[in-house]
């Protein structure tokens, strides 16, 4: 049994004009204990909504979640609020994209790290603060016993993201969901944070779901990759397989959009390959393949029949009528 099994997840939102926004529509994937899985896609493809759905942080209404999210075999969507709270920050925790705004400006750093410890491990305030100092040391913040009494506005962006990681790891979670943890940071800080996450992963042994649009980050830390487009999974494969042998035209497009070092010297086109067109609106039901509107290879068939996800190679799924199938044991 996998640690996390997401089965046919649908997260829809009510739009102000009465319509339905199908942000995530029928997503399934699983994460093994200790594994690092990346979910990639353009902004608006539903990857953040997926991460929020797992922890049930979607406000309901206007949102609504259907399907199953099994954690250690138990469906999170059927849990009471109390049971769910016991899981949040304890067994599953999360790091967000915006370190500048994700920390409460009026509570001290120590207070914010210690909160989860007081909640889930029954530590006293004093013990929690001592543990908070320990966590700050772990995430590499200098002078932790001073920092623990400070407030978020006294810290830089990189420092704040380290604090967020400290909060997330305080209770030794089994699963860490990192939603674009490095996007808002400077490049040098990005590398530091990634190193930190990799290092901590080995020490703590948590599984990681990494949400990102940065394929460089994926190549560096992920073991398996899920590509999402317009609320659906269009491809999934181990990281090496995906980079070397992408099956879905969208994935190919994404890989083509990554700048290569020295490409201008080798005389190749200096322009990045871009995927023409826009992500379709999720407010309308899409007939046929979700990517058909932008796909260079789309045919009449693609516009009519939505391709099913199929195994196209060992451990390699893609949803495309025209993706070549390699020898797969049925």
């Amino acid at each position: 049994m996998a640690l996390l099994e997401v089965d046919n997840l649908q997260t829809h939102f009510r739009t102000p004009d009465g319509g339905v926004n199908r942000a995530v529509d029928g997503l399934s994937f699983s994460v093994e204990a200790g594994e690092t899985v990346a979910i990639v896609g353009e902004s608006g493809c539903g990857k953040s909504v997926t991460s929020m759905s797992i922890l049930r942080l979607i406000p309901e209404p206007p949102g609504k979640i259907a399907g199953q999210i099994r954690f250690n075999g138990k469906n999170l969507l059927e849990m009471s609020d109390r049971e769910m709270r016991a899981i949040r920050g304890n067994e599953i925790s999360m790091i967000f994209q915006e370190p500048m705004t994700s920390l409460n400006p009026v509570l001290s750093i120590g207070n914010q790290i210690g909160e989860a410890l007081v909640l889930h491990q029954g530590l006293s305030k004093r013990e929690a603060e001592a543990k908070a100092v320990e966590m700050l040391t772990l995430v590499g913040i200098p002078a932790p016993d001073k920092r623990v009494k400070e407030y978020p506005h006294q810290l830089s962006g990189g420092m704040r993201q380290r604090v967020m990681i400290a909060i997330a790891l305080a209770c030794n979670p089994k699963l860490l969901i990192a939603d674009e943890p490095t996007t808002a940071l400077d490049v040098t800080i990005q590398a530091q944070i990634l190193d930190l996450m990799r290092d901590l992963k080995h020490r703590v042994g948590a599984a990681i779901v990494l949400i990102t649009h940065d394929l460089g980050v994926v190549a560096e830390v992920a073991e398996r990759v899920i590509v999402m487009y317009a609320g659906r999974k269009v491809e999934e494969a181990p990281v090496g397989e995906l980079f070397n042998n992408p099956k879905h035209p969208y994935t190919k497009g994404l890989l083509g959009a990554v700048p290569k070092l020295g490409s201008s010297l080798t005389g190749e086109s200096t322009r990045l390959a871009e995927i023409p067109g826009l992500v379709p609106s999720l407010k309308n039901k899409i007939q046929g393949c979700v990517f058909a509107g932008r796909c260079p290879e789309a045919t009449e068939l693609c516009r009519e029949i939505n391709p099913a996800l199929e195994l196209k190679a060992p451990r390699h799924q893609a949803a495309c009528h025209y993706a070549t199938k390699e020898a797969v044991a049925a």
Binding site: G18, R22, K64, I65, L301, A308, A319, H321, Y322, A323
Partner: protein, 303 residues
């Protein structure tokens, strides 16, 4: 379809996902507008009704509101005196209906004058640097005097009349409008297109007319409705404590002031004008809330 696929076999279709919630169809047209803005519809309807009552008071089965009938003092509401009679035998129904006039005149009058004067002061303050600090200090000072007390103080200087009541309440309301307008002007001046207009030598009156006034209008209208509502309450309060309209004029505050001595035994003299006053102010406030929600969504989010 008889094409062969590179993937081999027939095209595999993904399962169709049903929606987890039904689509709602928004109503359109006037019914849709009323449906989405019930406050403005209800408030507007009530307000129109009250304006109708004020204008056509003489034709709505009223008697002379000032006619004394000592023999018919303090009669309870009945078929003959719908709202009863007061201590001097005057018909409370007629007095209350005529009182609508005073309340609406004061409300609209104060809203109008406070807006116009406040707008002028606010514009001067926003555009004339040296005047700004002086004006704003004066406004700060006036605002630190509770507005009812300010109006009371001004009324203490003059005779009671509807005009003086409007004047006194207007003075008390001006600081708020001026500050609002000044705030809008200062924030608009920072806008690139206004800065560009200033830099390219557009004359100040033109800038005010083209860029400032149109943007001030929405918050001003909303503010004006709230001023109208609070002016109606202020008028009633002033009259109630004897510093408002002269007793000869049937205003709701006056009717209540006269009914005050007897209210424990004849509560209806106080309650009928009280109900009318509350409904009128409620109607204006509902219109104000509705306007705020549809004219100025940014403001609606804040308050």
């Amino acid at each position: 379809m008889s094409t062969t696929f590179p993937s081999g076999g027939a095209p595999a279709a993904a399962p169709v996902m049903p929606d987890v919630m039904p689509t709602r169809i928004a109503r359109k047209g006037i019914t849709g507008y009323i449906f989405r803005n019930p406050t403005i519809a209800i408030g507007g309807f009530l307000l129109l009704l009250l304006i109708f009552v004020a204008v056509f008071a003489p034709f709505l089965w009223t008697k002379d509101p000032t006619a004394l009938a000592p023999a018919m003092r303090t009669r309870a509401p009945s078929e003959r005196w719908w709202f009863g009679t007061d201590m001097l035998g005057r018909d409370v129904y007629s007095r209350v209906l005529y009182g609508t006039r005073v309340s609406l005149i004061v409300g609209f009058g104060v809203a109008f004058f406070a807006s116009v004067i406040g707008l002028t002061i606010g514009l001067i303050s926003g555009f004339v640097r040296w005047a700004d600090s002086i004006i704003m200090r004066v406004m700060d000072g006036l605002m630190s005097i509770p507005s009812i007390l300010l109006a009371i103080a001004l009324m203490a200087l003059t005779r009671g009349s509807v005009g003086n009541v409007i004047l006194a309440i207007t003075v008390a309301e001006i600081p708020r409008v001026s500050r609002l307008v000044r705030g809008v002007v200062l924030s608009l001046r920072e806008q690139p297109y206004v800065e560009a207009a200033i830099a390219s030598g557009t004359r100040t009156p033109v800038i005010i007319w083209r860029h400032i006034l149109p943007n001030t209008l929405a918050p001003m209208i909303v503010q004006a409705t709230y001023i109208c509502a609070s002016a109606m309450i202020a008028e009633a309060i002033l009259s109630f404590i004897g510093a408002g309209t002269p007793p000869i004029i049937p205003s709701w505050g006056n009717i209540m002031a006269e009914g005050r001595a007897l209210w424990q035994v004849k509560p209806y003299i106080v309650f009928f004008p009280a109900i009318f006053l509350s409904i009128t102010v409620l109607a204006v406030n509902l219109v104000g809330d509705g306007l705020r929600d549809s004219l100025d969504p940014r403001l609606a989010k804040r308050v």
